[in-house]
């Protein structure tokens, strides 16, 4: 625990110092890593803590992106629009959770997978509000240089990651987190023990939705232009899960480590195997999950070997 905390602090310090390098490429990478981290941590609320394999991250992300963009279109200041987007995703998750969280296991996974597709079609057809398939442009501030913009969004994403991490830490050590662990271990037994399982699961889903939605809104402002297939991409759901698995499900720092590892792999593979990069990445994910199911930091050596 102590060593992983130190490692995390070192990693964060390294990331926070990125803007000093003045390199646009590294800054973009850093911002992406923080965004991935937020997605992974937000998935951890429902997938890691409650044990419900949610594929709804893309739905929350896309909903947040469009909520933030549309709010700005109507003149809401950017920062407030991000908060609104998080709130919209939170409310959406509450309603969705009441319906979907009656399902368990694969059934829940499949149902949550469909949500992003449904939202994408809805956004596609609501042309007046969202621009439909033509996408939506977000306002660019006139008085800012490209470099200062990049720095601003980097620090904004860092702030969101810090808030998400704090929320996750607080939840883990609270009654809510304790109840979610009970549900993850044995939901029927948790129910008999007095845990209001529906309430707890919906709460976890709402937290998951809020942070993924806020990440979507920040992303939209950062790239200035969004379109349905981009922000409702099912890959956001899959990446969130893979990152948590890589970093180790059930640990506090796992999602952040996972995000760093995943982004490194993605970037390396993309650079070196441009033609087949998704194939190579998929293969690596399968191998990692098969042989290191508890994350890359789990001890690969069996414990019994250590004993004399």
């Amino acid at each position: 625990m102590r060593s992983s905390a130190l490692l995390a602090a070192a990693l964060l310090a390294l990331v926070a110092l990125l803007p000093l390098s003045g390199d646009a490429y590294w800054l973009r990478l850093g911002t992406t890593m923080l965004m991935y981290g937020v997605l992974a941590m937000s998935w951890n609320f429902i997938g890691g803590m409650a044990g419900y394999p949610s594929f709804a991250s893309a739905a929350f992300f896309g909903l947040g992106a469009y909520a933030g963009a549309v709010a700005q279109k109507f003149g809401v200041p950017m920062g407030l629009a991000w908060v609104c987007a998080g709130g919209a995703a939170l409310a959406f998750a509450a309603l969705l959770g009441l319906a979907l969280l009656r399902l368990r296991g694969h059934y829940f996974a499949i149902a949550s997978l469909v949500v992003a597709e449904v939202l994408r079609e809805l956004v596609n057809s609501a042309t007046d509000l969202t621009g439909g398939g033509m996408g939506l442009n977000l306002p660019v501030p006139h008085d800012a240089t490209v470099a200062s913009q990049a720095q601003f969004f980097f620090y904004s994403m860092l702030g969101l990651a810090a808030i998400t991490f704090t929320a996750m830490l607080l939840t883990t050590h609270s009654k809510l987190g304790f109840g979610l662990r009970c549900i993850q271990q044995n939901e029927a037994a948790a129910d008999m023990l007095g845990v209001n399982t529906t309430l707890y699961k919906v709460a976890a889903f709402m937290l998951s939705g809020a942070f993924a939605g806020a990440a979507g809104a920040l992303y939209a402002s950062w790239v200035h232009y969004i379109e349905p297939p981009d922000v409702f991409d099912v890959l956001y759901s899959i990446k969130a899960i893979v990152m948590v698995l890589l970093g180790g499900a059930g640990s506090v720092f796992g999602p952040l480590f996972g995000a760093a590892i995943f982004l490194s792999l993605e970037e390396l593979v993309w650079r070196n195997y441009l033609q087949v990069h998704t194939g190579v990445l998929g293969l690596m994910i399968v191998l990692l999950v098969l042989f290191l199911p508890k994350g890359v930091f789990a001890r690969a050596v069996p414990r019994t070997r250590k004993k004399p």
Binding site: A189, G194, N196
Partner: protein, 251 residues
């Protein structure tokens, strides 16, 4: 003083099958009551009806003066009915203490944290599991897991404890230990309803026994009279044995 638990005309159907039909049972405060019946008689279904896992199709369940027929399991638990499972249900990857603390926090309204842990440890001492407090629940033996179920049940601060075959799979020594535990719990003033296959256990413990057969309540009496009841003997051993028994008693 009114009854603690009152079942009136309780019926539970699964499709066309009435697993429990028209059962009336009253449990008074402080009673130690046994629920017996051959396999498939509806004993566990009756417990599931009381705890809200499978709500009654018709009839009412009243507990402590309140109609709890339509309550969800977590609400029933918070009202003061604890139950142990026939097949033990720990949270395997949590420690033994955490398992008991969960019961204290969510049903017993104890504050999460050190307060709940302290209370958990107290119950673990009572059931004799204190030295296993920091072990994972999955690492316990079956007999220990059964004792863990007791500790969890007690941590819920129940008025009524439903014990579903807590002695199944235990050896003679372990059964004796469980028996003394049940007596100690009863001595604390907790009302107990025990489902049991071992007649030795029910006969030595209970003040009253109710018998289910094919979902019907066929007898409710003291242990001494239950073992002589013709319908009970019929249900367990068949009509011919019951006839022979009553012929022997008359002749």
């Amino acid at each position: 003083m009114s009854a603690l638990l009152e079942l009136k005309g309780v019926t539970r159907r699964f499709g066309g099958l009435a697993a429990v039909s028209g059962v009336d049972v009253t449990v008074g405060r402080g009673e130690l009551i046994g629920l017996i019946g051959p396999n498939g008689a509806g004993k566990t279904t009756l417990v599931n009806v009381i705890t809200g896992v499978h709500p009654a199709t018709s009839g009412t369940v009243r507990f402590d003066g309140e109609d709890i027929t339509a309550f969800k399991p977590f609400q029933v638990a918070r009202r003061g009915i604890a139950r142990t499972f026939q097949i033990v249900q720990p949270f395997p990857e949590m420690t033994v203490t955490e398992n008991v603390a969960a019961a204290a926090v969510f049903a017993g309204a104890v504050r999460y944290g050190s307060e709940a842990n302290a209370e958990a440890l107290q119950h673990l001492r009572f059931v004799g599991l204190a030295e296993m407090a920091d072990k994972r629940a999955a690492s316990l033996t079956l007999a220990m897991r059964k004792r863990l179920e007791f500790a969890k049940g007690l941590a819920m601060r129940p008025k009524l404890l439903l014990l579903d075959e807590v002695n199944a799979g235990l050896n003679a020594t372990e059964v004796d230990h469980a028996l003394s535990l049940i007596r100690a719990i009863a001595a604390r003033g907790i009302t107990i309803l025990i489902i049991e296959h071992l007649m030795k256990v029910v006969l030595s413990l209970c003040t009253r026994i109710v018998v289910l057969h094919h979902g019907d309540l066929i007898a409710s009496d003291t242990p001494q009279r239950i073992v002589k009841d013709t319908r009970v003997i019929q249900a367990y051993l068949g009509r011919r044995y019951a006839d022979a028994e009553s012929a022997g008693a008359n002749g």
